[in-house]
């Protein structure tokens, strides 16, 4: 699998497409392209979340549906609709709300194709925001994608910038299999900085990592919002002459192991930045994989910069400290270099 190394001007251009614009464009283009694509979500027709402006007028009530507060039925219903010929996109809004639908994700969405011997096709996309770092406290701020990585059968995308989000989401909508899309709400703030590139065929393939910054001393693998932090940390470290390579897997399932392993083989050091809780995180899986497949190249332990295993507290005085930060990444990189 190949990795793409974006040039600096390309990165600047990328930053111009905000997350919500990216979602709006991906959904609008794919619904216009294929009438089997329908969009469902809570408070969708009123466009409360800002990524479905004008959809009701353009596509009509049959294809743009508000959902009741019924996450379990919504998730399973979309699976049944997919088996019967539609290509639903379900906007579950906040990722924490998925817990009410775990049985449907695991028993129906993930398993139907397998346990029916390949008879079922489930082209369905489930979107949800990672809504942490904003004082929403324990019931709205989870980063639960590692739980779903543990379930065979669910493809998982965690974009780190608008163009990737658009391209991955369009690929997801065209995929014949279930895809979970986790959207890091800390990246929403980048919206509206310029005209969005309108390319109907802007598709980002699954299982192909990006290398937004090349380097030689340490590989920092970032997940979702962790990529932005990793790039900021890399800028800081560069001032001290430390060259950091940043790898963005973009999709957690399938994971582009070859790009990650190749990068670590070049640098000999790895730090994984993952906003999820530490135990059994995506970072844990990546670290374990590197120990198995890149042990000979490693010159230091693989380090994880994650959220500690605590629930999300409300007070800003309590919350801000718990997530990965630029400072924590800088410290981890220095530690892999033998500094304390």
């Amino acid at each position: 699998m190949s990795a793409d190394t974006a040039s600096a001007p390309a990165r600047r251009r990328s930053a111009e497409l905000g997350f919500l614009q990216a979602i709006q464009q991906a959904q609008q283009e794919e619904m216009a392209r294929d009438e089997r694509v329908i969009l469902m979500g809570q408070d969708l027709r009123a466009n409360v979340f800002g990524a479905a402006a004008g959809f009701l007028a353009e596509f009509g009530p049959a294809r743009v549906r508000d959902l009741p507060l019924s996450e379990a039925a919504s998730v399973g219903m979309a699976a049944g609709a997919a088996m019967a010929g539609l290509r639903p996109i379900v906007d579950l809004t906040v990722a924490s709300f998925m817990f009410g639908a775990m049985d449907q994700f695991i028993s129906q969405v993930a398993k139907s194709r397998y346990m029916f011997g390949g008879q079922a096709r489930l082209p369905v996309v489930y979107r949800q925001a990672l809504y942490y770092h904003g004082g929403t406290a324990a019931h709205h701020a989870d980063r639960p994608y590692p739980m779903f990585m543990n379930v065979p059968g669910l493809k998982i995308i965690v974009p780190s910038n608008g163009p990737d989000l658009k391209g991955l989401l369009k690929t997801a909508i065209r995929d014949d299999n279930p895809v979970l899309c986790f959207e890091d709400a800390n990246l929403w703030g980048r919206r509206g900085r310029g005209p969005a590139p309108a390319d109907d065929e802007h598709l980002v393939p699954f299982g192909v990592a990006a290398i937004p910054r090349a380097g030689t001393d340490v590989t920092v693998i970032g997940i979702g919002g962790g990529v932005k932090l990793a790039l900021e940390a890399a800028d800081q470290l560069a001032a001290d002459g430390i060259s950091v390579e940043v790898v963005d897997p973009r999709t957690l399932v399938p994971m582009d192991w070859s790009t990650i392993v190749a990068s670590v083989a070049r640098t000999g050091r790895a730090v994984v930045v993952d906003p999820a809780n530490r135990t059994c995180s995506a970072a844990s899986e990546i670290a374990a994989h590197l120990v198995e497949e890149a042990f000979d190249a490693l010159r230091a332990p693989v380090l994880r910069v994650t959220t500690d295993d605590i629930h999300v507290p409300f007070s800003p005085a309590l919350e801000k400290q718990i997530y990965p930060s630029t400072d924590k990444i800088v410290a981890a990189v220095r530690r892999t270099l033998g500094e304390r």
């Binding site: 399973g76 219903m77 049944g80 609709a81 019967a84 449907q104 079922a120």
Partner: protein
């Protein structure tokens, strides 16, 4: 009698919100005896078959016999040690299943539950491939990866059975949504049990189907027991169908031992669904003659032998229907005997097909995922 709701014996469809002027629309139903804790009254052969085509009547018998003989064969295979796991038998419930499925078309969708053999058989699936699946063979309808609780045959609209109680109810709702959006005229028949009616997704799904007027028929096989618990111990209403009132849709109770009663009620619900008028609940009062799972040894008796004996002696749906067919006069003993013989041959051939089918190659375990797993084949 619970308030103004349709209850046992009420042949009433209520849909006040949508059709206030038609709120008392009647469906053809019969008295439906409650299976739990009651001794059924002696039954005569039932109403005549005047509105049932003779060929359809014979097909009803044929499919009920297929389910009965198929499951009797699984009992033999179980005792012979050829069945890799336990099975949940539908013996006693054949009329409810066949009456419902024959009221739908082969293009219509169907979802089922862990008591899973009868639904695809009634929908018209190949018996040999179903039997091969029960034995975990390569020619099984799910290539040996689903087994008894997860049979599926998409070629006859069976979108699969679910081993998690209630979890296929939203899937059926979604199939109804697809039919509605695509305008393909299909409906979905959703089988569930009395136990599933207490799962949250039952309520979420019925609300959703009702507000969107989806073409789904929710068919409750109320056999009176959730494993060992009497339905009336842990269910708030004597009739699941009364819950339809909460969703503004029709709910009707029928005698699940009467194949034509179920057929008529489901046919009316299907017609309503196809007309765009939305979902219904049809509750069939039925009974399972065997344990929750065959071979499951329960330490304490939860129902007495006399209750089981009375149902199997007096309320066997196949015996009742055979008597009606003979009384009807359009079908004679010779034709019935011929159907029995044909079904016996089908079952014997299905068992032989299953036994001859090889076990799947080990690599089959790694197929039909959504993507190639990490470390596949290691």
């Amino acid at each position: 009698m619970v308030g103004p709701y349709p209850t046992c014996g009420d042949a009433v469809v209520r849909d006040r919100r949508r059709n206030p002027e038609e709120s008392e629309m009647e469906l053809a139903t019969q008295r439906a005896p409650d299976p739990v804790g009651t001794t059924p009254d002696p039954v005569d052969v039932g109403p005549d078959l005047a509105d049932i085509d003779a060929d359809l009547a014979v097909e009803m018998l044929r499919r009920m016999l297929r389910i009965r003989r198929f499951e009797e064969a699984t009992i033999d295979l179980f005792h012979a040690g050829e069945l890799p796991a336990m099975v949940h038998l539908s013996i006693g419930q054949e009329a409810a299943i066949v009456g419902a499925c024959l009221a739908t078309g082969v293009d219509d969708y169907m979802t089922g539950n862990h008591r899973s053999h009868g639904h695809p058989i009634a929908k018209g699936a190949r018996l040999d491939r179903l039997m091969a699946e029960l034995l975990g063979r390569a020619d099984g309808v799910c290539k040996g990866k689903g087994g008894s609780m997860h049979l599926a045959d998409f070629s006859v609209g069976s979108l699969g059975e679910s081993g998690i109680v209630g979890s296929a109810i939203p899937v059926a709702t979604g199939a109804g949504l697809a039919a509605d959006v695509l305008g393909d005229g299909r409906i979905c028949l959703c089988f569930f049990g009395d136990g599933a009616a207490n799962e949250g997704v039952f309520h979420e799904s019925l609300n959703l189907a009702a507000v969107w007027r989806l073409p789904v028929v929710y068919l409750c096989e109320n056999n009176g027991y959730a494993v060992s618990v009497r339905a009336d111990d842990l269910t708030s209403v004597p009739d699941i169908a009364t819950r339809a009132l909460a969703y503004g849709i029709p709910g009707v109770v029928v005698d699940g031992q009467d194949v034509t009663a179920t057929y008529r009620a489901v046919a009316a619900a299907v017609a309503r669904a196809r007309a765009g008028d939305g979902p219904s609940i049809v509750e069939t009062k039925t009974y399972r003659f065997h344990e929750h799972a065959y071979g499951l040894k329960l330490r304490e008796a939860y129902r007495d032998d006399a209750e089981v004996g009375t149902w199997s002696a007096d309320r066997d749906p196949i015996s009742l229907f055979t008597a009606r067919l003979l009384a009807d006069g359009r079908t004679d003993r010779a034709r019935i005997d011929a159907v029995r013989a044909e079904v016996d041959v089908e079952i014997a051939e299905a068992v032989e097909f299953a036994r001859r089918s090889p076990y799947p190659e080990p690599t089959e375990a790694y197929r039909d995922l959504y993507h190639e797993p990490e470390g596949a084949g290691v």
